[in-house]
Amino acid sequence: MRGVSIIGIGTTPFGILEGKSLKEIATIACNEAIKEAGIEKEAVEAFYLGNFISGILLGQETIAPLVANSLGLPKQVPCTKVEGACCSSGIALRQGYLLVAAGLANFVLVAGVEKMTSATTEKNTEGLASAFDQETEGQTGLTFPGFFALIARRHMHQYGTKIEHLALVSVKNHGNSTANPRARFRKKATVEEVMASRMVADPLKLYDCCSISDGAAAAVLCPSDIAHQFSRKPIDILASAHTTGFSTTYEMDDPTILMATVMAAKKAYEMARLFPQDIHVAELHDCFTIAEIVDSEDLGFFEKGKGGFAVEDGLTQVGGKIPINPSGGLISKGHPVGATGLGQVYEIVKQLRGEHENQVRNAGIGLSHNLGATGQVCTVHIFKRRG
């Protein structure tokens, strides 16, 4: 297997991109990544595009060749859409990584895109709920805020996590994104504001939830041994892991642990020969405040049950023991579901290049964690800057 590096990144802002189509925003992000990599479009040998619900929301499918044609990629390039709910573009990165690592291609374009804000909240909730098993749990009217609310209440019961801990995650992430020009929300929030926001799925309130957003993000991958020819600051991918969890909540022994994350993290740390304490910055899947707490434990940053207390102690802030979501995360940067995984990678690459607007000092090793559905899908990637 060859080493794989990132030599170019591109993105749109995340948020309400009014008047811009799915095809347009995906094209913009891809074009930026290719230009940044300094390669010709003709050099791209494969294209993976992550997307979750464009079929349901927009009636638009077959979007990988659609975007490739908009971009003007050569016709011999295989273009593949990958779907794994909110983990779709984490999988796109993983597929591109595998192709380059295996020596089957030198330059691979990976991207993610979602266009959500043109549909109503109910339509989005319905589209997202398509990731439940429609033969069982999906029939009940369970929603994703509802799924994470079930976890939140159990986490509070088992470990003494407080509702204020959840609110503090939202406060931190809103604070972080004030500096991020790509974020949907740029305004600070207070604990009181979070607690007073309207109920979505008890005990989760509006400010505990990620925001429906439009957005696209992309990256160009190549073998590590030639990466310096294209980028002054290539970022090496030390690990790429992709795992599967349970499809229904009721089959989990303990839903406060998402096993797909635990297993992906274990594989990724082994592959990178690193430990959780070696990570300098992490972008993880905070689709809800409780998710950030659970993820931070499942990734090994904190002992199970201690994630909420770690937030209270400031350990996850920029400058803390393990800065989590300095971008603002899904909660405040926004969650265009199919684009999120590569949006996280964009933020980590900026951190490791030392170019981030909310820079973690001396960030040398970064981790991204992307989760889909009921923790049915998970990818974990570990990145390193050179020198």
């Binding site: 109503t120 909240t121 109910e122 339509k123 909730t125 319905e126 709920a129 033969e135 069982t136 749990e137 029939q139 009940t140 009217g141 369970l142 929603t143 805020p145 509802g146 609310a149 079930l150 976890i151 209440r153 159990r154 019961h157 309207r198 109920m199 979505v200 799925a201 008890d202 005990p203 989760l204 229904t248 909540t249 009721y250 089959e251 839903p255």
Partner: protein, 111 residues
């Protein structure tokens, strides 16, 4: 809600390893055995965790707010279910519940 449906809680028991499952299952995901036998459950359990849904998918919009719980069944496995809660009742982790019916919205339990 007095909707028609199945009045008995039926699970599946694997003829190979004895594991209990919530239907439907094509085969036992634990041991791979292809024979699963219907198993009548007591219908008794307690609340493992719960939530009230205030923002629902389009098709459930008119039912808001509604309660969903993970019910820990006496038989040892869990099931996701709607809770038929009277206005004066409150849900709590550990509270006993009993099976009411199964219909197009899945399983229903009550306190």
């Amino acid at each position: 809600m007095n909707m028609p449906g199945e009045e008995r809680l039926t699970l599946l028991r694997c003829a190979g390893c004895g594991a209990l499952h919530v239907p439907p299952k094509v085969l036992c995901p634990k041991c791979g055995h292809e024979v699963l036998l219907e198993h009548s459950a007591s219908g008794l359990g307690n609340i493992y965790t719960f939530t009230t849904i205030w923002v629902a998918p389009e098709a459930f919009k008119k039912q808001v707010p509604y309660e969903i719980a993970l019910v820990q069944l006496e038989e040892g496995i869990k099931v996701t279910a709607r809770i038929n809660k009277k206005p004066e009742e409150t849900l709590q982790i550990g509270k006993p519940v009993k099976f009411l019916r199964k219909n197009n919205l899945g399983y229903w339990f009550e306190l």
